[in-house]
């Protein structure tokens, strides 16, 4: 009788250990059967992050400019640094579910309320660095374009080979989420997204669209360059 229990338990544990070993084997990514379930849990985690853990008023810690990192790594998905042929012709297009679509020049953005902060940048890879950013809060643009009641997301699109990100409403309207035209007291360098990029210390770096061309208000959750490949969509810190 006891041996019976023994044997059954051994088989159970053996199976579990086998599954564990299999799972750990050879850098397995989850396979076609499990990957959809992992992505479903990732969506659940997005929901927990956005609806339960995220506070629209909690601010990320700020630092003194003396604490800036000497350099901050940058990347783009194009083969070479994305640059405008004629920066004077550049405008940020604001469209989608809004009453007043806009075309904003850098000068117009600079006349909006100016936010400057020195914050820590968190990359999904695990590195971090401190820099100062200058820009206009996304909330100021939202006020100007008067979104329709159905707008729930904003899609930010770049001229870096179509790199884009979708943002939830509350994170986009967070007081530290800005359209940044300056970095460390200077105009944003080309490597970091000139002439305008999205910046916020409340999201991982890959959500902070560089080389902006448009922000579109939608009622459907927009995908994104990395998000569509399996990276977490919400990515809130």
């Amino acid at each position: 009788m006891l041996h019976e229990i023994d044997r059954r338990a051994f088989v159970k544990v053996g199976l579990a250990a086998g599954a564990g070993a299999l799972v750990a084997a050879c850098g397995w990514d989850g396979g076609n059967t499990i990957r959809p379930d992992l992505l479903a849990v990732s969506r659940l985690n997005d929901w927990v992050g956005e609806k339960i853990l995220f506070s629209p008023s909690r601010l990320a810690r700020t630092y003194s400019p003396a604490e800036r990192s000497r350099s901050l790594p940058s990347y783009f998905i194009s083969a070479t640094t994305p640059m405008l042929k004629d920066p004077r012709l550049w405008r940020l297009r604001v469209d989608g579910l809004v009453q007043r679509p806009l075309e904003l020049s850098i000068e117009e953005l600079m006349r909006m309320p100016r936010v400057t902060y020195t914050v820590k940048h968190h990359c999904v890879e695990g590195w971090s660095g401190i820099a100062t950013w200058h820009g206009a809060p996304v909330s100021a643009v939202v006020e100007r374009c008067v979104p329709l009641a159905t707008a729930r997301y904003i899609e930010f699109v770049s001229f870096d080979a179509g790199y884009s990100n979708g943002w939830d409403w509350a994170s986009a309207l967070h007081p530290q989420t800005i359209l940044a035209y300056g970095m460390n007291d200077n105009p944003i360098p080309a490597a970091h997204g000139a002439p305008l990029r999205l910046y916020s210390p409340i999201k991982l770096g890959y959500k902070l669209t560089k080389y902006l061309v448009s922000m579109t208000f939608t009622d459907r959750r927009p995908g994104g360059y990395w998000e569509d490949q399996g990276y977490p969509w919400f990515a809130g810190l």
Partner: protein, 232 residues
């Protein structure tokens, strides 16, 4: 004389009920889940294999720029590993909470938690292991050194979860991140928890086979027949 009731016959001599099914279930589930967490964690680590802000200074670590072998990594690439890590964290934390709730509700924590009064017994146990004492000290379910080890590993589990939260949401749990010394420090401790878990497991398994092999069967079936039948 004849009215003395006969003692109830023991089911099998020397056999004692040792581990509740909740303890056995959470124990083995934790083995599998923690293995998955560590394997996906090693894959995540590979994306930035050091600790400290990008331009330094870096925390001292023998694993700077280390690449772990493919068999030890889970997820295939960073996104896959993150999804494994953030999926397995739920059942792992659920297991931990279920186990701790059982300990509190059943009173079993008394046999497990190391308290100051266990200090003398721990010293005696250490003497025995060092050969300074011939006889194995009397013990209940666990000897004082075991209590120390099991209490420590529960605390380590809690710290692993808290450091994980501190690097998962360093703004929402900013106070926690601050408590661990900042984002990179929390990441550093989260990583070290791995090696302490692995070291603990190696010693734990070795002692099971060297000192009390009957305890393996107890963790599987719940029944124990071995050297330490008393259950305090």
């Amino acid at each position: 004389m004849s009215d003395v009731p006969a003692p109830a016959p023991a089911p099998t001599p020397g056999l004692v009920r040792r581990h509740h099914w909740i303890v056995r279930l959470t124990h083995w589930a934790t083995v599998v889940l923690l293995a998955g967490m560590i394997a996906s964690g090693l894959q995540i680590y590979e994306a930035y294999a050091r600790f400290g802000n990008r331009d330094g200074p870096y925390f001292p670590s023998p694993f700077n720029d280390a690449q772990f072998p493919a068999w030890s990594r889970l997820g295939g690439w960073l996104a896959g590993a993150l999804n494994w890590h953030f999926a397995l964290m739920w059942p792992l934390v659920a297991c931990g909470l279920l186990y701790l709730s059982y300990l509190v509700a059943s009173g079993e924590w008394r046999a497990l938690v190391f308290r100051p009064r266990d200090l003398r017994g721990a010293i005696e146990m250490q003497k025995y292991y060092l050969g300074l004492r011939k006889e194995h000290p009397r013990q209940g379910k666990h000897n004082p050194l075991q209590k120390l080890a099991y209490t420590f590993i529960v605390v380590l589990g809690v710290l692993a979860v808290l450091t994980g939260l501190a690097i998962y949401k360093p703004v929402q749990f900013g106070w926690l991140t601050w408590l661990f010394g900042g984002f990179q420090a929390a990441r550093y401790w989260h990583f070290w928890a791995v090696w302490i878990f692995i070291g603990f497991t190696a010693v734990h398994v070795a002692l099971v086979f060297l000192v009390d092999p009957a305890s393996l069967r107890a963790m599987l079936t719940g029944w124990y027949r071995g050297r330490f039948p008393s259950h305090d």
